[in-house]
């Protein structure tokens, strides 16, 4: 043990175990988390060969694929079903790789669960869980991102043989970026503009098989591939997809909420926003995920700052620990506080989602607007703080922070996509603003409003009562 770090631990005025329990919701959860992490760390199969940074992209992809398939089966054998507990195991087992099947388990399966009919769930979910179907969520197009209504991919209903015909009519309409789409997946949920009885009916989800289940070769009319190396996520085959007159049966449209009948009659959902659930769910979890990224960077930078000594404070004296410089503290400690703030806020957002989700399932959408706005805003706020914070942590590690050996560049490239995926952050903030402006007349009138926003009607002429004690 480094003597400086040992000394730091001796001088602490509190018991870190209590804080760990608070972060992970009690000692029992901490125990489970450690058990799963240790199981992964001690597993011989998961002890990697050379460090990931020295591997080629293909080696990274293959290693990640091997590890994550192994871990999925192992977790099933152990009977671990809770997504958070599975994540703890996977994070310890293959921390340096992005899961090539992340979209399969994180978006494809949950979307079928939430938006599929009973028959669709019975047909696809067992195959998906046993990896006969490996799917992804194909929403983003080369020329279209957060503005979903602008997607160009079409699904035209042909009542003569009760099929949808899917097309990518332009280069910009090609699906671009979905994780696992390039080489791993054999099917996907495609977001496309539904056209039936000659009318556009808005964006809907369609189950499309893109590769043969036995040979893994492309289905007729399908062209897909990997989009090449990125800033990070290089163990993942983020892909492109071009659809040319691809025919799928009517039953392949996810029809829990809106439907197309055999004759082409369109039955709209009871509420247009009912399908927002998955999106809100993902955004709520991004907040905790951002906290995880920032906290890891803080662990690295703060421990290193206690070990690293630089420059004698007085001539001829010993070099000081860099954590003792006030400027270093000013860079790091607010970030440490931010990591805690984001952890607790993420936990709150997840709990709030769970609470509202059951109301949504029951058809009560009253709180959906509030939840949608809160999650959009927190997603943006936390990912900005995380990305900027990791960069500051890198700078706090001097020259070594630039090396992959520090672990910080990997964290940065792993977490910074959060600023643009699942909704570009400025767009997210404008969604919050739209929500706030919508309720602003009620705020001014003193009408009934949610507790989250009650303070917005406060008297603006008031001044702070802060005293020297703060």
């Amino acid at each position: 043990m480094n003597p400086d770090l040992a000394q730091e631990r001796r001088r602490a005025t509190f018991d870190p175990e209590q804080v760990t329990s608070l972060l992970y919701r009690g000692p029992e959860n901490v125990r489970k988390r450690r058990y799963l992490q240790n199981a992964a760390i001690q597993d011989q199969v998961l002890r990697g060969s050379k460090p990931w940074a020295f591997q080629s992209r293909v080696e990274q992809y293959e290693t990640a694929l091997q590890m994550f398939i192994y871990m999925m089966k192992k977790l099933d054998e152990m009977g671990v079903t809770d997504p958070l507990e599975r994540m703890y195991y996977q994070e310890a087992g293959a921390p340096h790789y992005y899961n090539p099947m992340a979209l399969h388990t994180g978006m494809f399966i949950p979307s079928i669960e939430k938006q599929g009919t009973k028959e669709q769930k019975e047909r696809w979910l067992p195959m998906a869980r046993s990896l006969q179907l490996i799917g992804t969520y194909a929403q983003t197009e080369m020329g279209h991102g957060t503005f979903i209504r602008g997607l160009e991919t079409t699904a035209s209903y042909d009542p003569s043989n009760q099929e949808f015909v899917l097309n990518s009519p332009t280069v910009t309409s090609m699906k671009f970026w979905p994780g696992g789409l390039g080489k791993t997946s054999n099917c996907c949920l495609v977001m496309a503009q539904l056209i039936t009885q000659g009318k556009k009916r808005g964006i809907h989800l369609f189950f499309v098989q893109i590769r043969d289940l036995k040979t893994h070769r492309h289905m007729p009319g399908v062209e897909s591939g990997d989009i090449g190396p990125k800033f990070g996520f290089n163990s993942n085959d983020n892909g492109y997809l071009k659809l040319s007159n691809v025919r799928i049966p009517r039953e392949n449209m996810l029809m829990r909420y809106s439907k197309v009948l055999e004759d082409g009659t369109y039955v709209p959902p009871t509420n247009q926003r009912i399908g927002y659930g998955t999106m809100v769910f993902v955004r709520a979890h991004i907040v905790t995920n951002s906290a995880r990224g920032l906290s890891k960077a803080c662990v690295i930078a703060i421990r290193y700052s206690a070990v690293r000594r630089q420059t004698e404070v007085s001539p001829g004296g010993p070099e000081a620990q860099i954590i003792d410089y006030q400027t270093q503290q000013y860079k790091l400690f607010p970030l440490l506080a931010t990591a805690y703030a984001m952890y607790f806020t993420g936990r709150y957002a997840e709990d709030y989602y769970e609470q509202i989700a059951s109301e949504i399932e029951a058809g009560n959408l009253e709180s959906l607007n509030q939840l949608h706005a809160v999650c959009a805003g927190l997603k943006a706020f936390s990912t900005w703080a995380c990305t900027a914070g990791i960069e500051t942590c890198r700078l706090c590690c001097g020259g070594h922070g630039y090396s992959h050996a520090s672990g910080i560049p990997k964290l940065y490239t792993y977490y910074t996509p959060g600023c643009t995926y699942e909704g570009e952050n400025n767009v997210m903030m404008l969604q919050v603003a739209r929500f706030l402006m919508k309720i602003y007349p009620d705020i001014k009138r003193g009408g009934p409003i949610h507790e989250f926003v009650q303070y917005l009607g406060a008297d603006l002429t008031q001044k702070s009562c802060m005293t020297e004690e703060v």
Binding site: A12, F14, A337, Y455
Partner: protein
């Protein structure tokens, strides 16, 4: 004290929202459509939205710390951290907090002094606070962030993994450097 800091965030969010709404109304009164007025106010709207989110985070943090079932010494450390988050948030966005005179110059000095005090207060607990995140070394995958602090031997071991070090003299030396030296 946390309540007093939270009030500052609430005031800022309410004021920025009111400013954005007033801007839109003024533009509408001057003849722009609602949509044009919105489009011409998106920066102000973004400020208001960020302030709303920031307030939400401060509120949640202070609420969870206040409700936490931990002993006094742990609560004191978490409270200091929460205060630091709030005060740093104010100082980093000071313009938005003083634009309407909500804080006086005196109060801003109090905040700056408190910031320095909190840095010193948190200093002895900084390593224990990051230990509390409880990340195993394998998860961090960092030579610098190791639990045992053996940073420099770890950097040396890591360097040895570089494929460049598999050969004492690289082929590229014979292909490019040597000919250049001969010429």
């Amino acid at each position: 004290a946390l309540g007093c800091l939270l009030k500052a965030f609430q005031h800022r969010a309410a004021r920025l929202l009111s400013d954005a709404a007033a801007r839109i109304e003024n533009l509408v009164r001057s003849g722009k459509s609602r949509q044009e007025a919105w489009d011409a106010s998106t920066v102000a709207l973004t400020w208001a939205a960020k302030a709303y989110c920031h307030t939400f985070v401060v509120r949640t943090f202070s609420q969870i710390v206040s409700d936490a079932a931990v002993d006094k010494s742990t609560k004191d450390v978490l409270t200091a951290l929460c205060k630091l988050y709030a005060i740093d948030g104010i100082i980093e966005n000071l313009g938005e907090f003083i634009e309407d005179g909500f804080f006086s110059p005196h109060q801003v000095s109090f905040l700056k002094n408190k910031l320095a005090d909190l840095l010193a207060e948190i200093r002895p607990n900084a390593v224990a606070l990051v230990d509390a995140f409880d990340y195993p070394d394998k998860t961090l995958d960092s030579c610098l962030g190791r639990y045992d602090g053996q940073v420099y031997p770890a950097l040396y071991e890591y360097a040895k993994n570089s494929p460049f070090n598999e050969q004492e003299v690289l082929d590229s030396y014979h292909k490019f450097i040597k000919p250049a030296q001969t010429e």
